[in-house]
């Protein structure tokens, strides 16, 4: 996010050197290590299947063979990149061969689940803040609910919703929602309670009703707590949406893509689905961070 201009005391070239260079070096090292590991892991298979085990070949042949295998143990980065490129540009958008089609499927259930989870989290937190009974009786269970591996209940949710006639997006969105609502609830309970006593008392002297206090004081005060929770929540929702695609044996979605890849040993396909899901996760959290900067950035200037 290059928002600094040349007039700031710290010029962008210095910032790039201090902050960008180490990251780039680490990334380059990772890439190198990946290539080395690919050669090492694929070598036995390559010698057995591509090169003649007895015949004459030198190191160059071996390296070339290991980096261009059909079903490598570890595909080389450029193989993954090529697969991604061809799936994105060689096929129409509505073809199951195009990864963007799967991104759309997973992204939709993530976003629906995220919206439902955020709404549920907001409602719950407002109720909890206003009711001592709920605070004491419900909040401990909400916290405990997250130490349950929620993904284990995915098959149950699918069965229940399936028998009620819901299929497609709804079950996956519900699982995404289960992962999303928790960070929002906990952060908002904290945020809604963050106003100082003196501020609450001032609202009281203005004879503000509960709703006015909530709307004018508590909610604005809670916003800085809300946005980090939204970032965490949407990333968790993506995990939920992907995992929810596994037990359904869904035909579409990034999780389903991982599953079919592992059935047929298509390692390149697995890796490109992984890279795509990482990109989707980064984009979704990036959008949330952008939203945060838009809403709260103004406040900081004021």
């Amino acid at each position: 996010m290059a928002t600094t201009t040349n007039s700031t005391p710290q010029p962008w070239s210095l910032r790039l050197r201090v902050e960008g260079l180490p990251v780039l070096v680490i990334l380059a090292l990772t890439l190198l290590a990946w290539y080395a590991l690919a050669v090492y892991l694929n070598a036995p298979g390559a010698i057995e299947r591509v090169l003649d085990p007895k015949g004459p070949w030198n190191w160059r042949d071996l390296v070339e063979a290991t980096l261009a295998m059909q079903r490598p143990v570890l595909p080389a980065p450029h193989q993954v990149a090529l697969d991604l490129y061809s799936s994105l540009f060689d096929w129409p958008l509505d073809s199951p061969r195009n990864l963007l089609f799967h991104v759309a499927v997973t992204g939709r259930s993530t976003l629906v689940g995220f919206a439902m989870g955020t709404l549920l989290g907001l409602v719950l937190s407002v109720c909890i803040v206003h009711s001592r009974t709920l605070d004491r009786a419900l909040l401990p269970w909400i916290v405990a609910s997250q130490s349950v591996p929620v993904l284990a209940i995915a098959p149950i949710v699918l069965v229940i919703l399936g028998s009620m006639g819901f299929s497609g997006v709804a079950p996956k969105a519900v699982i995404a929602m289960y992962l999303c609502f928790f960070p929002v609830t906990v952060a908002m309970v904290q945020g809604l309670r963050s106003p100082q006593v003196i501020e609450s008392e001032m609202m009281h002297t203005y004879a503000a009703s509960r709703w006015q206090t909530l709307w004018l004081l508590r909610l604005p005060a809670a916003l800085p707590f809300l946005f980090p929770a939204l970032r965490v929540g949407i990333a968790a929702g993506l995990v939920g949406a992907m995992v929810a695609e596994l037990p359904t044996g869904a035909q579409a979605g990034l999780g389903a893509r991982l599953l079919t890849g592992s059935y047929y040993g298509q390692t390149v396909q697995i890796w490109s689905a992984l890279v795509m899901s990482a990109l989707l996760g980064l984009t979704l959290t990036g959008v949330m961070a952008g939203l945060e900067a838009m809403v709260l950035g103004k406040r900081r200037q004021a």
């Binding site: 680490i26 229940i160 995992v243 596994l246 990034l254």
Partner: protein
């Protein structure tokens, strides 16, 4: 609702209310009204509503109590108990198909019937994959964090990337881990190691920065060297960060191991049990396996919280919310 000052008579009344609720609940569950054969008339709903009101009053009274921390725990426990009760009551009375939602008593029966199976699953998933992967991943994250403590270049390079991994669905590596490390528990442990490594690394780096200049200068004036400062000042100050990473990791580890079992496993393991029994519509056992996972997760979390209270009792974040 304002908190009532707790007096012995208030306490007695509250206990009486709660007990009254229990008696009414027991009576309703065993009355012919709750029999699935009798048509559900207004009488059943009126009785259910009455019990619900009693339950609610008991919870409200208990929640309004001030004083011992025991009251808060008791409120949460009572609430959970009532939830289970209404699940059981409505499940039995309305004759909900057990495929859809088995009642708690059915889940309990499935648990005791398949106890040995679940025990094997528990050992396979929790004791081997989760515990080992969690220790290894958190340990590695901590070790790398300490190792690069004196290398700011590596820190500046690793920290942004490590923080970004929290936005990436790392469980996706499960199919690859299964291909590389086989169907048995090592592949699950590998997924867990990968998922727990980065949160620990990020927290360690943040925790080691948690001391302020004044404290470090004090150590310097004591002529304490790097190792001594690390051991006596910076690591203790990092404890809350380390514990929060351990807690996050405990949940992540269970998720990782269970999801990895979806991609292939030997014929045991909690994730395997859940996915196979769900396809066979044996929901009692599925819920029992989920309950095992849930209790494990909560127990680990609770013991970590207790451990943190003992280890970092002096820290403001713990002294604050006694």
């Amino acid at each position: 609702m304002n908190a009532l000052p707790t007096t012995p008579s208030k306490l007695r009344w509250t206990v009486a209310m709660v007990l009254m609720g229990f008696v009414a609940a027991w009576a309703l569950l065993n009355s012919p009204l709750a029999d699935p054969q009798t048509p559900k008339a207004a009488a059943f709903w009126a009785a259910t509503l009455g019990v619900a009101m009693l339950a609610l009053t008991g919870i409200r009274r208990l929640a309004a109590m001030d004083g011992a921390a025991l009251y808060a725990t008791a409120t949460a426990a009572l609430f959970g108990l009532w939830l289970l009760y209404f699940w059981q009551l409505l499940g039995v009375a309305l004759d909900v198909p057990r495929v859809l939602l088995p009642t708690p008593s059915l889940v309990g029966a499935a648990f005791s019937e398949h106890f040995s199976t679940l025990e094997t699953d528990f050992v396979q998933t929790v004791v081997r994959a989760v515990a080992l992967g969690w220790l290894l991943g958190s340990g590695l994250g901590f070790a790398v964090g300490i190792a690069i403590d004196r290398m700011p270049f590596l820190q500046r390079g690793l920290l942004p990337l490590a923080s970004l991994t929290s936005t990436i669905p790392l469980v996706g590596v499960a199919p690859i881990a299964v291909m590389w490390f086989g169907f048995d528990w090592p592949s699950k442990a590998a997924v867990v190691v990968l998922m727990t490594f980065f949160p620990m690394l990020v927290s360690t780096l943040a925790g080691l920065k948690a001391t302020d200049r004044l404290e470090r200068e004090l150590m310097h004036s004591y002529a304490a060297g790097y190792a001594r400062t690390l051991w006596s000042l910076r690591l203790p100050a990092a404890l809350p960060y380390l514990f929060s990473a351990l807690k996050v990791n405990a949940t992540l580890a269970l998720i990782g191991a269970i999801v990895a079992e979806f991609f292939g496993s030997p014929t045991s393991g909690l994730g395997f049990r859940i996915s196979t029994e769900a396809t066979r519509m044996n929901m009692g056992l599925v819920w029992a396996a989920v309950a095992v996972a849930a209790v494990t997760g909560s127990a680990v979390y609770a013991s970590l919280v207790a451990l943190e209270r003992r280890a970092a009792f002096w820290h403001p974040s713990i002294r604050g919310n006694k």
